[in-house]
Amino acid sequence: MARVTSARTALLVGALAAALALTSCTSGAKSGTAAAGSGDQLAGNASTEQLRDHALKSLQGKTVAFVPVGMGTPLTEEWSRQIKRGFEALGAKYILRDPNWDVAKQADAVTSLINQKPDLLIVHNFDVQLLAKLIQKAEEQGTYVIQVNMVSNYKSDAFVGADTIGLGRKMANDIVSVCGKGTSGKIQIVQGDATSGFTLGLMQGANEVFKQHPEVKVVSTQAANWDRSKAHDITATVIQQHPDLCASWGFWDQMEYGAATAIKEAGKIGQVKVFTSDHSVVTCEALRDKLFYQSYAYSVPTQGTDIVAIGKYLLQSGLKPGTARTADYTQLYKIDRSNWNQPNMCYDGKHDGLTVH
């Protein structure tokens, strides 16, 4: 932490020095103007110092706002930590609005932020529809918008997150390989919010694969709305109904932990393989405790740093918000009972380089 703080101080000092240099001697370089989206572009023959001035000035004093679905989970805490650290080091102001898992409050938070005209807005969409109009409005008024992990029906300047369709295919193929011939082939799906971009993407990928494999039967598809208790109760019923279940697939580790508990209570944790995604500390612990069978990590700390990198690019690009659409799909890697204790496999939203023991 001390290392990070000193690096941040050094960067701040550098940024301040650059700002001073710019005010004392205007070198004729075209530098970013105050309004977001109107940052001018730099000519190819600009000097190294001009590039530096342009980069630092494009970020100095800018406002970056983040609206997650809700804080307090390792996932959103980690994003916020990385975004705050990355932008504040460059002299930008970071605003966090926590709607605390309330749909209406998320829309309110984004609406009030639009009125404050931040330079960059980062949103974690509750569902595909809620913020679609608001994101468009933000772009029209000159705010760059980055969406994280759960995409909206309206695609903004950038999306940073898991390739949900690809993740759905990967996971479905893994399930087919363990629940194919010779097993009951019965699987349960525990969705997040039914209209979330994440749920829709995973279902699309999964359906493509399961259509090719009639030996796998999806016996239950229920939405547990990212809630551990709901996942627990649904799964407790499903496991009674289908005692020969082969796999349970839940769309988030925090939620699927409840399903795994229900399967363990029914004495079936050896037989039913629990699949999930994300890699918060719960995943590594549940793999250690033989509750989970496998998870796909989507590099959450990297998503945080990628958001910062893309934000820096947008603010310096001179592009008008909403002119280009970019998706940055972060790497998916499999965590299972063989590698959960490797360094950096999981994260807790508080520390760097976590190792679970």
Binding site: G70, M71, G72, T73, E77, N100, W101, D102, A194, V219, S220, T221, Q222, A223, N225, W226, D227, R228, S229, H232, D233, I234, A236, T237, V238, Q240, Q241, Q254, Y257, G258, T261, E265, V282, D289
Partner: protein, 332 residues
């Protein structure tokens, strides 16, 4: 209880109580599901059904205590969530289990007393008072006490897990706790003088006060008991999934609790219904949820059915307990 009240009140046209009607509906549903849904009428599924709604049932009994006294506690889920999450967080920071649980209990009792004082002495209607305290308590706790949305029970603390996951003699612990709370609350409400006072308070607060019942201290007692019972439900919820997600405070759980209370016949006008009403209401919700999960209905279809049942219960409540000068309340 209903028979006792029937003796005190003028004879009613209706001889069938809401409780009996709902019980009949439950029995009918069980028969229909048993015939149509394979795997419904098995011991394991019925035990699981009971287990899945036990925490809801315990919360229902907590709510019933204040609703019978013509009150309402919208802060029930918030006080439950805050005290449970705090106790678990303290366990995570190394405090011994009994001490951590005691701190949670002290907090929840304090919140109950706070509600009671605001309602009894400041004379704010319970609807608004508990709405405000619920918001305040959760907001305060999240910013000052709790360090996350989810409090995970540490691996070495077996007791709370046992409350949610234990199966003495093959019966899930939550079911046993629900049964124990139901029996104790039933005895308290229907056999003890103080319990009878709760009905008197709900039936006609002024008459109760005139007849010498100390209504204000009684109110504080009612809200405190309500909050304390809620704490037990919180521990059961946390134990069954190895952690407590405070997101539940913002969820529709409070409406589900009101649903089981109202469906079973604990009327919002006060003085009517009892613990059995809550048990019957909980059974209805349990059977419905279980059946809908087995049928694999989606969220929207489930909401349609839940909404229709709530409407039916309210219409029934209105028919059986028509509004009159005696029972009319602010906002009617």
């Amino acid at each position: 209880m209903t028979t006792m009240l029937a003796r005190l009140r003028p004879a009613r046209r209706v001889t069938w109580g809401q409780e009996q009607i709902v019980l009949l509906v439950v029995v009918a549903l069980v028969i229909v599901f048993s015939v149509t849904l394979g795997g419904f009428f098995t011991l394991n599924n019925l035990l699981d059904l009971a287990r899945s709604v036990s925490a809801l049932g315990i919360l229902g009994i907590a709510m019933a205590v204040v609703v019978i006294a013509r009150g309402l506690d919208l802060s029930l889920i918030a006080s439950m969530g805050v005290s449970t999450a705090l106790a678990i967080q303290l366990m995570g920071s190394g405090l011994s289990t009994p001490l951590a649980l005691l701190v949670g209990l002290v907090v929840v009792v304090a919140l109950g007393v706070l509600n009671g004082v605001i309602i009894a002495f400041v004379e704010i209607p319970p609807l608004f008072a508990t709405l405000a305290t619920g918001l305040f308590v959760y907001g305060f706790a999240r910013s000052a006490w709790l360090n996350g949305l989810i409090a995970d029970i540490p691996r070495d603390r077996g007791f709370v897990r046992y409350l949610g996951q234990g199966r003495p003699l093959g019966i899930p612990m939550p079911v046993l706790l629900f049964a124990a709370v139901a029996v104790v609350a039933h005895v308290l409400l229907s056999r003890l003088t103080r319990g009878r006072f709760v009905y008197a308070h709900g039936d006609n607060s002024e008459a109760a006060a005139l007849s010498g019942i100390a209504v204000r201290p009684l109110t504080i007692g009612e809200y405190t008991v309500c909050a304390a019972i809620g704490y037990l439900a919180g521990l059961v919820l946390a134990g069954s999934v190895g952690g407590f997600n405070t997101q539940v405070i913002n969820s529709s759980l409070i409406y589900d609790v009101l649903l089981v209370v109202v469906i079973g016949g604990v009327s919002l006008v006060g003085g009517r219904g009892g613990v059995l009403s809550v048990v019957v209401g909980t059974a209805l919700i349990g059977v419905m949820l279980n059946g809908m999960t087995i049928m694999n209905l989606n969220v929207h279809q489930q909401n349609i059915i839940k909404g229709l049942i709530l409407l039916a219960a309210l219409v029934l409540d209105n028919r059986l307990h028509p509004r009159d000068e005696e029972t009319v309340r602010q906002g009617d």
